[in-house]
Subunit: 307 residues, 3 copies
């Protein structure tokens, strides 16, 4: 079996078979990660460029590790060292990199649509590592993998995304993919953080986090991006925590069986307490490990597609 | 056959046999770049340091890819992370790096002569990746490779370098190497951008770009370095474009057979129009691909020299 | 034989057998560094993270080269690209990196104790590459290796550390390790640069550098850290040089057999003259080469420990 697309731009139009193939393949790589020698020769001689126009720690390192464990050659390229300073167009920069015979490009950019644009100017496989407020598909896929590892198939499960849904590419990728897999998706947060008309996507809205906890199998708790727009959307973080913070007390009272995900980095005491972040409900570090496996799976599946 | 020197500092004194050997070797590596597995084990266990004291995107990535595709180990070292901040002399920094048993150093520096200085304090093979306004030999070699791929042997061909010749290390390396290969070299640009006494090198000067187009087989169009000194040498970029810009109209009218090179990054609408930069006359992206092959050739030839 | 600890945090409590095993192993790798192919497959499939929270040239490159020559996969992670900017705790950052299935972490940090802290939150092998004013064990080990290479076993040898001992992690690691190996350790410097109560460690204090030269086999000359606290501890560098500078005249007059070490980077004309730094007494570049071998030895010994 192989993927139906040579790119991974988002989950909006990714068919169920592709998502399931990626997750199944990731299971194999998850086992490789437990071995003493966590490396396979699959992508030897392939070149992958990590084109990061936004700062990133975990996503970039996760991709880089996935690439090295598949024996690919990797080049890191960040905006600060780029020729865009010299007045070159973005398109010319990419065309130039591609002319060096690159096989794949992993791209993160602050503008939605950049990965899609790359597919139109490049023959390389393009993987979206986060574009603006649009999509972050590998994060959503590792979320699905982590949930299924814990709870079995997602079909019919209730999953609620809590927090600043409006500014979150993680939320959007989750919504599209979860629906494709047959889960029931809802969101919960202050009205200023919930996109207008999100019900039109078939997404339920919870006003109260207590209800969200009671009626769901999984909460995917988004990071309140203190350094970004969140400042304007909520009066202050204490207020946010009071009404929407995920605490042990709330989980114990309303749903002691619930599973908590968080994409990181965590603001302890804001969207989630340390007790929960370090406690038995959460899969947070499991998500990180699974992230490497998911990225190995995608790189492998795209890198071995017949031309 | 092997190179007559253990360094590549410039083309001024590089014999014809060496240039031809590099280009011939690059042809082989150009084929490797078309394979699914673009990697050979030739330099396994060799260590190459990329010592870049000026920002660079394409040249550094091109070298790094060439090194990885030859299976060398690479270390990137840039000024911002260097001990020169701690008051250490440049010589001590280099001696220290070399003491870690480095095989080759690729160096870019804003001062002419730094690569030559390195040969006096280090036993490693030194490759000049651009030094001040002096030389940039790998760029010139990839230009020659690209021209010969298109037009056959350079001997007897007419090649004109257009633009800010005075501030260009690309121009100087081209002039020396082209003359060694038997081409007729000329330059064209505003008087403020043409070095005094350049005729003494046997280089013809064109006042008018139309004449340059009519009488040459190849134009090597230099980038107007808007971020550097160019501001002082020309009244403004529109004026430059009006008199010296390479446009489809000019090429069609004066020499529809001409071949256009540009070392990049391009200022579209300044030294060259988008129509030309993306059109049938140019070899611009071919140059980029050939650049990797040329660098693989040089690294291979220097890395396998008998001691 | 194998090491008694799975970490290298410092030399304070490292047993003699471990230090000797590291030095013996480094001798083997020193020979590998003289080969045309300076690479062994020992750590293939292992992942090592270089976590540097302080700028470093030589130590980081030395570790990176050691890792690559053992065929490990390496990830560089520096503070400037880190999520600590996003408000994440240091512990969460490390736990996240570790969840990506890292085998070893090499850490440099401005705060003493960070490597020790890492051992409590991570299962990876931790190697201290310098923490605050505490320890820098690999530097001390390469010093010992270099001395023994020149003078034979350290037991019974007289070694004096000259300079800003108070602010030096190199000094502290040297003192602990040298005493473990049976050497007689002393220090020499202005009173403001000698820690109070250092005699309680069994360390002799020299007021005059002439006496230190006369009565020792080895001087380990510390760098005067002009960019740090040294400004406050000495009236000016000329004054320091006058009383404590290591000059050819002093060495010739008081002990022409003495061996000079310096951890670099050198301030020529401050703590040491160029004549000495480039002359026959010193082992400075030998130390740099041995540093790669020592780091290969430690990485090898920790990376192949039975679990």
């Amino acid at each position: 079996m192989s993927l139906s697309s040579k790119h991974l731009l988002g989950l909006r139009n990714t068919p169920r078979e592709d998502i399931e193939l990626i997750i199944d393949t990731a299971k194999t790589f998850r086992e490789v990660l437990e071995r003493p020698i966590k490396k396979v020769p699959t992508l030897t001689g392939k070149t992958i460029v990590n084109l990061f126009f936004e700062n990133s720690t975990r996503t970039r390192i996760s991709f880089e590790l996935a690439q090295k464990r598949l024996s690919a050659d990797t080049i890191n390229f960040s905006i600060s060292t780029s020729s865009t300073k010299k007045g070159e167009t973005f398109k010319d920069t990419v065309k130039n990199i591609e002319a060096m015979k690159i096989d794949m490009i992993v791209v993160r950019h602050q503008s939605a649509g950049v990965p899609d644009f790359l597919t139109r100017i490049s023959n390389a496989n393009i993987i979206n590592a986060g574009d603006g407020r649009h999509e972050h598909p590998t994060q959503a896929l590792l979320d699905f993998f982590s949930i299924e590892e814990k709870l079995g198939k997602l079909s019919g499960k209730n999953v609620c995304i809590v927090g600043d849904v409006s500014h979150s590419r993680v939320a959007l990728s989750n919504i599209f993919g979860l629906q494709t897999l047959g889960a029931n998706v809802s969101v919960c947060g202050p009205a200023t953080m919930i996109p207008r008309n999100i019900e039109k996507l078939g997404v339920k809205i919870y006003q109260k986090v207590e209800d969200a906890i009671r009626e769901n199998d999984v909460l995917n708790v988004l990071r309140i991006q203190l350094e970004r727009e969140a400042g304007g959307a909520i009066p202050n973080v204490n207020e946010y925590h009071k009404y929407f913070g995920i605490t042990r007390e709330r989980l114990e009272k309303y749903n002691p069986e619930i599973v908590i995900l968080h994409p990181g980095p965590i603001n302890r005491g804001v969207e989630i307490t340390s007790e929960v972040a370090d406690g038995p409900y959460q899969l947070i570090l499991e998500q990180v490990t699974n992230g490497v496996a998911i990225r190995m799976a995608i790189l492998y599946l795209l890198g071995t597609l017949p031309n």
